[in-house]
C-alpha cells in the first residue's frame, strides 16, 4: 500500500474516533428506551416527537435560533464597523479604545456575570430576549480579528472607491465587506456556535421557561428525567441531536470559508 493511502486510512480512523460520540448520540436517539436497556435495537421516531412536542424543544429551538441569530448578526455588524474604524481611521483616543477592546479578551466571561446580572436587573431586562442578547452582542474578539483582516486589504482599494465617489460606509459595504467575507463568515459561525452553546448566562438571566434556550431545556430534561426509575437516554439523545443539528448544518455551509479564515495570515 502506498504511503498516501496509509495516511488517508489513518486520517479516516482518527475522524471516526472524533465523530463516534456524535454518531452514537444520533444512533441512540432512534431507539426505544426499553430496547436501549435490553440491548436489542428497536428503531422509532417517538423520541423526536416527544422532545419537540411534549417537552417543548421546538420552542427552545426557536428561542436559541432567535437569540443566537440576533447576537450573530448584531455582533457582526458592530464588530465589522468597529474593525473598519480601528483599521482605517485615525481619531483621538483611537489607540486607547483599541487597547480597551483587546483588554476585554483577557477578562474571563464569568467575572462579568454578576455585574451584567445586576445591570440588567436594574433596567428590568432579566427574563427577556433583550436580556439574553444584549450582553453578548458586543464582541471584542470579533472586532480585533476583523480589524487584523481588514488591515491586510490594500488601502488603495478604499482610496480608489473614495475617488470613485464613495462615502466611508459605502466603502465598508461595497469594498471591505465583500473582500473580508471569509473572515466575516468564519467569525459569524464562531459567534453563533458560542452563543448557541452558552449555558451559564441564560441559566442566570432566565427563569421563565418560555424563554429557555436549548441548552437550558436539555439540562431541565435531564434533571426532571421522564424515565422515572431509569434515565430515558434515547429521549435525552434525541434532544441533544436537535441541539447539535443546526450547528452541524451551519458548519457544513461555511466550512470552506472557516478553514480559509483560520489559516489567513499564515502566509502572505
Amino acid at each position: 500500500m502506498k504511503p498516501e493511502a496509509l495516511w488517508s486510512l489513518a486520517a479516516l480512523a482518527a475522524g471516526l474516533i472524533f465523530l463516534s460520540p456524535v454518531l452514537y448520540t444520533i444512533w441512540m436517539s432512534f431507539l426505544t428506551v426499553d430496547s436501549y436497556y435490553a440491548g436489542t435495537p428497536v428503531l422509532t421516531l417517538d423520541n423526536y416527537r416527544a422532545a419537540l412536542g411534549e417537552f417543548d424543544f421546538l420552542r427552545y429551538l426557536l428561542n436559541s435560533l432567535l437569540v443566537s441569530g440576533v447576537v450573530t448578526l448584531g455582533g457582526l455588524a458592530l464588530a465589522v464597523m468597529a474593525a473598519f474604524a480601528f483599521a482605517r481611521f485615525t481619531f483621538p483616543g483611537g489607540d486607547f479604545l483599541f487597547a480597551a477592546v483587546v483588554a476585554t479578551l483577557m477578562i474571563p466571561s464569568h467575572i462579568t456575570l454578576i455585574p451584567n446580572y445586576l445591570t440588567l436587573a436594574k433596567v428590568g431586562l432579566l427574563d427577556s430576549y433583550a436580556g439574553l442578547i444584549l450582553p453578548a452582542i458586543s464582541n471584542g474578539f470579533a472586532a480585533f480579528f476583523l480589524r487584523q483582516y481588514i488591515r491586510g486589504i490594500p488601502r488603495a482599494l478604499d482610496e480608489a472607491a473614495y475617488m470613485d465617489g464613495a462615502r466611508p460606509l459605502q466603502v465598508l459595504w461595497r469594498v471591505i465587506v465583500p473582500l473580508a467575507r471569509p473572515a466575516i463568515l468564519s467569525m459569524g459561525l464562531y459567534i453563533f456556535i458560542t452563543e448557541w452553546n452558552n449555558y451559564i448566562w441564560p441559566l442566570v438571566a432566565i427563569s421563565d421557561s418560555d424563554l429557555y434556550t436549548l441548552q437550558i431545556g436539555l439540562a431541565k430534561l435531564y434533571r426532571e428525567n421522564p424515565g422515572e426509575d431509569v434515565i430515558n437516554w434515547p429521549l435525552v439523545m434525541a434532544a441533544s441531536t436537535i441541539t447539535i443539528l443546526p450547528i452541524l448544518i451551519g458548519f457544513l455551509a461555511v466550512e470552506r470559508h472557516l478553514v480559509r479564515g483560520i489559516t489567513m495570515g499564515a502566509v502572505k
Binding site: 488603495a156 480608489a160 473614495y162 475617488m163 470613485d164 473582500l179
Partner: protein
Amino acid sequence: MTGIALTDIRKSYSNGPQVLHGVSMSIQPGEFVVIVGPSGCGKSTLLRMIAGLEACTEGEIAIGGRRVNEVAPRDRDIAMIFQNYALYPHMTVRENISFGLELRGVKRAERHARAEEVARMLHLDPYLDRKPGALSGGQRQRVAMGRAMARDAGVFLMDEPLSNLDNALRVEMRAEIKALHRKVGATLVYVTHDQTEALSMADRIAVMKDGHLQQFDTPAAIYDRPANCFVAGFLGQPPMNFVLARDMPGWTGGKDITLGLRPDTISVAPSGEGLQGRVVLSEMTGSDLILHCETDAGRLVITAPRHRLDGVGETVSLRPNLTRAHAFDTATGARLDNPLQARTAEPALA
C-alpha cells in the same frame, strides 16, 4: 477643462520629517504634466494631496479656480489611476468601470452602456464579464484607465501606472496614454520616477528632489537648459557627465565651475588627440555602444557607434564639445551661462 494651482504646498507628519517644502505650480487646463523625481522626493504625496487623499499642512490647492483643501475626494472632479491599479477584485470589469457612475446615481442601463463604450475604446470589450484576477497586467492597466475615463472627470491623476508592466508593454501603454490624453483632453498629472516616461509624454515636467520643486518646464527646456546639477543628472539616458572645469583642457571660462557633458557631446577623436582615457566598461545598446572611460578629468560615459568599437582596457582619445557643455556653480549646483556658447565659432578643443 480644469486647471490646477498649487500654492506653497507644505506637508509634514506629526513626529516625522517634512516631506514637502513649499511647492508651487500652475497647471493649465488640458495640460499633461509629469512629476518626476527619485523615490522619497514627495511626488506621490503631492499627487495624493491633489486627489484629497492626504491633507496639506500648509498652502492652497485650487482646482478649476476653486479652493479644494477642505473638499472630499469625491467632490473634486478627479479620477485617479493607482500604481497597483486598485481594481476591485470581487467585481467584473464592467462593474469596475461603472462603479463610479453607480455611486453617482447613474441608472444601470446608462452606466453599462458607458462601460461598454469605454471598454471598446480600450479594446476591453471581450473581457467585460471577467474579474481582474483573470486578466493580464496590461489588461488590468487598461481597466484602471477605463474606470477613470468612464466618469468624464476634469482632472486625471496617475501614480506610476506603468511601473508594474514589462518594458514592451510599458512602451505601448505610454503611446496609448498619450493618445488617450489627446482624445479626452482632460488635465493630466502623472507621477513617475522614470525619466524616459517624463520626457516622452509630458507637455511640462516638474522635477522634484527632497520635497523641493527643482524645475517646472517643457521637456526640451529641461533637457537643454537644466536649472541645476540635479535636474541635469536626473534627466537623460545615459546620465550627464560632471567634471570640474579646471580639469578640462581647453576650458577658458571660470574655475569654480562644474561642467555637465551629455554622453553624445563627447566624441571619439583620432588617436593621441584630446583627452586620453581608458575604457573600463562597454555596454551594447543595439546600434550604439556606451563606453565608460577613466580619464584625468574623472570617469566619462560616452555613446559611440558600434563600428567605433573599443574594447575594455583599450585607450581612447575623447573630444568633449565644450560649447555644448552645461555650466554649474560647483558650490551651489545652480546653472550658469557657459561663456563658450557665446563664442560658437571657437573650436572646443584643439
